[in-house]
Symmetry: C2
Subunit: 468 residues, 2 copies
């Protein structure tokens, strides 16, 4: 941010740049030109917000009354979508505009060609999360496949911030997909539980954060990961057991400035230094030297990170740092957000019991929650519904089925019937309830079988069933 600019000057710059973007779009400029102009526009809007504490609004010049809210800088666009690792907001009932996010984040769309390549490389039909665009964006996955095809292996890294004991269905998405990737590619997996992050961000003790880690680890193990191929770790535990991990953290921390994390994560001067340096902790597992017990000290084993798109800022930073410390950039696979029962405007929240189906819910609770809270795209009366049909694009029950109903034909038929009005909202909800109940019951059964001994096994730093 140019420190010499007044709010009014930046306000004017934003307005001018907004016009420039619109002009480029009207004149059908190249994607690169438009992207560059949009990037500049977003940077100016961030400057404006940093300086004034206010959102830029067309036609409303800056006032002096609002204090700077240093925690709320993030990538935002005219449509009101707002995505950072802690907040996802959109005013659109269909959810965030993911095509725009791809442009904004500078990632690549997962297209049919990439899906075909994955099927070819693995000899397996693509997971329905890929087929249905639930994992919709990526970085450098072609590079992973190039290497894989010449017998050069990679590893998977995903994670979770253990903010409470109970996980909800949305939290399963990256793990279900990662499990599939582990199965079809047969590669090592590391899972980071960022209990240090949760301690830093929330009003909880270290002990509570660690307890959540253990409880969440049981749910993760219940997803079916192979103990011989998977290392799950708590930051609070593992960082103090791995000099190499800490050394990578320090390396990353040397190569990222406060200005950078301010720009990426919106940190401000009143944030604690733990938050400010935390991004390096989430970055470190992207480098194989952080796990010498698994990779035998090799530093060029590439990492593939399946995660929700809101985690991308961490890995944009990581990819920026990687070449400067002599490591390969991690590749990424981004998923959409799992919608709250109330609608796709927000992510599910572990702190609002009615916004989510929890992995601990009983069949009855599932039924009640879906019937009572799942936002419907149906019409107000049966007559209207039968005449005009429901709207699958905003119907949460239908959205959930895209995540959890594996049968493509059945899903397509539901879509047609609901859109035509043949299938009523109550019937659609019943299908969802009957889809979720057995999935959650099975998860609960598997989770019960997870012993403390198994948790310990997964969390012990050790060599996995791969020779590096």
């Amino acid at each position: 941010m140019s420190s010499s600019s007044t709010p009014m000057e930046i306000y004017a710059k934003v307005a001018v740049q907004g016009d420039a973007v619109r002009l480029l779009k009207t004149n059908k400029a190249t994607k690169e030109e438009i992207d560059a102009a949009v990037k500049e526009l977003l940077a100016l809007k961030l400057d404006y917000k940093t300086l004034t504490g206010q959102e830029y609004k067309v036609g409303i010049p800056p006032t002096n009354s609002t204090p700077v809210n240093s925690n709320s800088l993030a990538v935002e666009e005219d449509d009101g979508d707002y995505v950072d690792p802690w907040t996802v907001q959109t005013s659109n009932a269909k959810g965030v505009d993911y095509d725009k996010l791809i442009v904004r984040f500078g990632s690549n769309k997962i297209d049919q060609e990439l899906i075909n390549r994955i099927e070819q490389a693995t000899g397996q039909k693509a997971h329905h999360f890929l087929r249905r665009g639930i994992f919709f964006s990526h970085r450098d996955v072609h590079q992973i496949l190039d290497a894989f095809e010449t017998k050069k292996s990679f590893y998977l890294y995903t994670g979770r911030g253990p903010s409470s004991e109970a996980m909800h269905m949305g939290h399963l998405i990256p793990f279900i997909f990662t499990k599939w990737l582990q199965d079809v590619f047969d590669v090592p997996l590391v899972v980071q539980l960022t209990d240090d992050e949760k301690y830093l961000w929330k009003d909880i003790t270290l002990e509570q954060a660690y307890k959540y880690t253990i409880e969440n680890t049981k749910d993760i193990i219940a997803c079916g990961f192979d103990v011989n191929k998977t290392f799950i770790f708590s930051d609070l535990d593992y960082i103090g057991q791995s000099p190499r991990f800490y050394q990578n953290v320090v390396k990353i921390q040397k190569h990222v400035t406060f200005n950078q994390v301010k720009g990426i994560f919106g940190f401000g001067d009143s944030d604690c230094i733990g938050k400010i340096s935390f991004p390096a902790i989430q970055a470190a597992p992207s480098f194989s030297t952080s796990f010498p017990q698994i990779f035998n000290g090799q530093k060029d084993i590439q990492c593939l990170i399946p995660c929700a798109i809101d985690q991308d800022p961490y890995f944009r930073m990581t990819r920026d740092v990687a070449p400067r410390i002599g490591y390969p950039k991690p590749a990424l696979l981004h998923s959409v957000f799992f919608p709250a029962l109330q609608g796709a405007q927000t992510k599910m929240s572990a702190s609002d019991a009615n916004s989510s189906i929890f992995l601990t819910d009983t069949p009855k609770q599932i039924k009640t929650k879906v019937n009572k809270h799942a936002f419907s795209g149906g019409k107000d009366t049966i007559e209207e519904h039968q005449q005009f049909g429901g709207n699958c694009e905003v119907d949460v029950s239908y959205m959930y089925l895209t995540f959890f109903l594996e049968d493509d034909e059945k899903l397509e038929k539901i879509k047609q019937d609901y859109s035509s009005g043949k299938l009523l909202t109550g019937e659609l909800k019943k299908i969802l309830i009957e889809t979720l109940q057995p999935i959650i019951a099975a998860h609960q059964t598997r989770r019960k079988q997870v012993t403390d001994e198994m948790v310990k096994q997964f969390m012990t730093p050790r060599k996995l069933a791969f020779n590096f």
Copy 2:
């Protein structure tokens, strides 16, 4: 800093507050009143410097030409003394005004009463560093003694930033004194080698920083520490071997904001996040839970830190955080700076071979350096010297003798003879050379006897010869 103030507004505030301080002093206000006003003045000067990048100078209003140098905020006063953990500067040949530093840092003078108490508690004559005011300031040492007298133990913590292989004589001061404290109090000692800090601040690799740690550790061991009572650790090594240490780091990091480290250390937005979070790493050894192997998990063993006064900012921060995370505040003993051969205006520098006597210097090198570089308080000609006498207050050879010549009577005689002009500069230098040569030769002999196995022993996390 109030963001709404212009440089000129703050300039005016500094001027007004400066007048206020002078008025209080003239009117013989209480020490508390004056201290509070000085503190406010310094805060305003910092604000001024942050905003303008310029030092406040009486009668010279702000200009717009200088960019903000965010790395140069530190405690500074009208006399031009400037002290932070990386810079010590004064325009006075006698060195920094330590009485002013005590006021400025809010610490306490080590007075005769405290020295008497230490002698009483230990049954030993006070070390000459205490008797001669080389350790001149403290925090809470009375509390340590209160507890010690009721058989409640404490532990010692000191450290070193390993910035090169060779240490100079100034680096020995805290270790010589700590060794004495360990002997007379019979308590555990932890020694932190901040190789992570040196990696973050300097243009060196992790491997180089760690190599310096090992070489410096040999010099520290050569000071005579008892392996059964001393744990020496490299941050790069130990943090990755101690979950409790890392957990304390995270606790501290949660309770310190960027604003605070900006104010204390002068960090700026373009500093890397490693520097910004580093103070928590230096703070962590102040808490006994960081060493569960030594203190059996007990969290109320108080820590006493002997260090040069420039390290105090770290521990002011630590003492601020301690009660908020349920730990006792560390006590401190502050030493003056060891002067460079060229004079007391600056600290010795490990990077300028002629500014220091190194622990690796030969008898001949010592002789040459003292004769050639040691700043003399003598007069220009022998006749003048014999007539007017030399000035011990600025004579570096004499200053060095106060550090290394243990015999009080002999030292007093030298002072009298030099001040009277009876002792010539060449003779004084000869005494210093003959004092240093055997000390350094003996150090070199002891260092040669330090084996890799001994280094390993000292650096292995383990229980010491104390039952907690």
